[in-house]
Symmetry: C2
């Protein structure tokens, strides 16, 4: 699950395909790239074991399950104490409503994307994560008015190294 592997053109083509739809049968992918089903399967297995493909998941429509409020939160901690950062990260990782979290450079320390059921749950969540948790100097919540694009597909460009 860790070996670094050089990827060739065919690998990129396959990644591009399964990144869009992972349910297609091997022979279809094979037809598309010009390989037999078994060759496709071996490549995908190799890519998975190498960690290039992290997992295969179902993408759920948030609104269908009541999660209708997405917000981007900018966070600054009180100081650079490694313990504070560590505990903050752990909080982010443990909280299901936190979709993404990045450390950034500049006047803010973190960008956090949270997804909740309505504004009230967002308020509770913000209090729990950014006030009650401690170590947060200030935070600014930017509620999303609309989702223009929500993807997780990695841009693959032409191929190796471009």
């Amino acid at each position: 699950m860790k070996r670094s592997v050089p990827l060739d053109e065919l690998d990129y083509r396959l990644l591009d395909l399964v990144q869009r739809d992972a349910k297609r049968p091997l022979h279809e992918l094979g037809d598309e790239v010009g390989l037999s089903p078994s060759a496709v399967q071996r490549r995908l297995t190799r890519l998975t074991e190498a960690g290039v493909i992290r997992s295969t998941v179902a993408v759920v429509e948030p609104r269908a399950v009541g999660a209708d409020l997405l917000a981007v939160v900018l966070v600054a901690l009180t100081d650079d104490d490694p313990d504070h950062h560590a505990s903050f990260r752990r909080r982010m990782q443990d909280e299901p409503a936190v979709q993404q979290c990045y450390t950034i450079v500049g006047q803010w320390d973190y960008v956090v994307v949270v997804l909740t059921r309505g504004i009230e749950e967002n308020r509770e969540l913000s209090y729990r994560l950014f006030v009650d948790g401690g170590a947060v100097a200030r935070y600014e919540t930017l509620p999303a008015f609309e989702t223009v694009k929500a993807g997780l597909t990695v841009p693959l460009g032409e191929g190796p190294g471009r």
Copy 2:
């Protein structure tokens, strides 16, 4: 692909499972929730046709394909002209390097998450999307130092209506 369907406890359990790993065989999912493979399959089909499950995709590790620079960009347009907004959105949707894009309330109009191969590609991209495209008053790029959490799993809570 559109009918709204009331989801019960079992649907939530199944969504929770396939959202983590969509490759598990039906009989395994069935064992976990107490259903036969065919019942599981019928439910998943129904959820897919209802649009609750949007798709099933492979999650690719960005660094494995050379995409090593993630940045959050805050964007403000020059005005509220609907045409400007429409063309901006289209640009975001058409650009593979744009991972996510949300309209937000406040002093910025959009939050855009972009993923590129290195800083040079980011610079080119920024120029192309935010300068050359027009209609952008100002933008601020917040390069991510580190990805603390990168998920797309919708928080499902307990079940219907929380």
